[in-house]
């Protein structure tokens, strides 16, 4: 009986791993961007993203392999994964702050200021926030051109568009990106002034 049980478990395991891997390939790049938009460092974003996927596996795939009733599958795994990853990142940052403060106290004359969110990081955070604010078409265009480096021909093919229209659409997407970035920057400067 064991051989059959094992073969069944192995094939279920492989099937569930395949599903989980497909979800990872589909969701991870956007989740990574969203975590950066929330102000997390790339290294931390990657760690918590992976941790969230392991939690997702435990909750939604492992029970299937074990022959148990899994919870109802999520319609929007992206939102669930982002929430779990973000919470984990907050926890990690909180622990890092405690460690940093402890270190400052240990070092004689050390500044008590905890610098975990410096200027370049805030700048990066805003860039990703802008990316999330853009329309779907603009995001697709900018991802393909600016992040993946595709040519106009390749973009036209991938998005089923006329090659002649790519330049115009890209220019508008870039302008929209720049305008939204400027808006966020102005807002940040205004709120800083108020705080000051």
């Amino acid at each position: 009986m064991n051989w059959f049980k094992s073969a069944f478990s192995q094939s279920t395991l492989k099937r569930e791993q395949k599903k989980c891997n497909a979800l990872y390939r589909e969701q991870a790049p956007r989740l990574f961007r969203c975590l950066l938009a929330k102000g997390h460092l790339p290294s931390l974003a990657e760690e918590v993203l992976n941790e969230a996927f392991l939690v997702y596996w435990e909750k939604f795939h492992a029970p299937v392999v074990l022959g148990e009733e899994p919870p109802k599958s999520l319609e929007e795994p992206h939102a669930w994964l982002l929430r779990v990853a973000h919470n984990k990142a907050i926890d990690a940052r909180r622990r890092a702050i405690v460690a940093q403060e402890a270190q400052n106290r240990l070092e004689e004359g050390a500044s008590s200021q905890v610098l975990l969110r410096d200027e370049p990081l805030i700048h990066r955070e805003m860039l990703y926030q802008v990316f999330e604010l853009l329309g779907k078409r603009d995001t697709e265009l900018l991802t393909l051109r600016e992040l993946k480096g595709l040519s106009y021909d390749e973009i036209a093919q991938q998005l089923s568009l006329e090659k002649g229209s790519i330049g115009t659409l890209l220019r508008r997407a870039r302008k929209s990106f720049h305008d939204k970035y400027q808006e966020l920057l102005d807002d940040a400067l205004t709120s800083n002034k108020k705080v000051g």
Binding site: S9, F32, E101
Partner: protein, 294 residues
């Protein structure tokens, strides 16, 4: 004008045909005002490009395939946590249950797949769901005494070695000093009296930290402030030849804790896991510290 802007952008993107490119450059030479406008456009184009440069760097940092590879060892299940028939639940429940059961009986009776001989032969065969991972080689050792835990009382300047039974207070600091003769992946966790597991090293990441040959302290260039929980707390140092993750540890701990709460060395044991419990150390956290107890 927008047609002109599109042309300029296509030019800057390097997507204009050779002929169109030459024509545009000729226009710039002939019409200085147009060229001036183009330069303004180009500076904004460069500014936006610099934003994307940051994002391109992040993209390079995050490689989906290699990152996905790193979590594969976690995509497993704990074997033998089910009853001998519960694995079939998903098959025998629902409308297909009868058909599946019929097919199963057919296999057993007519094909002789489940003959007594075969069954006996397979009974002792183990089919691990985890991949085998290398364990620490016998050659690996910590020079001198094993990894040392050090503590510093809040408000004091000197540190001391922590021993089993050392009394510490919330807010005191701890640090780990090591000397290794071979690269090793390490993680330090603690278990409080309520059975809560916390990660101490590494603090910011869930993947084990790689110690290179030599001496050092953990956390690198820092110390850890003890939290507010009181009572006994056990620090467990886990080491491995290959990287491992905190979720893997949590999983093994969850499974072993009910059985081995009194034997910390066995708390993280699970088949196929790469780590090895290098050291355990029990401290006692109290609210106040009497001078004579130090």
């Amino acid at each position: 004008m927008s047609n002109e802007l599109d042309r300029w952008q296509t030019y800057l993107d390097g997507e204009l045909s050779l002929q169109a490119k030459k024509e545009l450059e000729r226009e710039f030479a002939e019409k200085p005002n147009q060229h001036k406008d183009f330069l303004v456009f180009q500076s904004r184009y460069n500014e936006i490009d610099s934003f994307f440069n940051i994002m391109r760097e992040d993209q390079r940092f995050f490689d989906v395939e290699s990152s996905l590879k790193s979590i594969q060892s976690g995509l497993t299940v704990e074997p033998k946590t089910q009853s001998s028939w519960s694995w079939m639940n998903t098959w025998i429940k629902g409308p297909f249950g009868v058909a599946v059961a019929g097919a199963f009986v057919f296999l057993m009776v007519h094909l002789g797949v489940f003959s007594p001989d075969k069954s006996q032969k397979d009974a002792g065969v183990h089919h691990p769901l985890h991949q085998h991972q290398p364990v620490i080689s016998a050659k690996w050792r910590v020079k001198g005494s094993p990894l040392q835990m050090l503590h510093q009382y809040k408000g004091e300047d000197t540190s001391a070695q922590t021993h089993n039974g050392t009394l510490l207070r919330p807010g005191d600091f701890v640090q780990f000093a090591f000397a290794v003769s071979e690269p090793i992946h390490l993680m330090v966790v603690s278990i409080d009296v309520k059975g809560n597991l916390s990660r101490y090293v590494p603090l910011n990441y869930t993947k084990s930290i790689l110690l290179k040959v030599g001496k050092g302290v953990l956390p690198k260039g820092g110390a850890i402030e003890l939290d507010d929980s009181l009572g006994p707390e056990i620090f467990v140092v886990l080491a491995s030849k290959v990287p491992f993750t905190y979720p893997q540890l949590q999983k093994a701990f969850k499974a072993a804790y009910p059985r081995y709460q009194k034997t910390p060395k066995k708390l993280f044991f699970a088949k196929g896991t790469p780590w090895h419990v290098l050291q355990t150390l029990r401290i006692h956290k109290v609210k106040q510290l009497k001078k004579e107890t130090r």
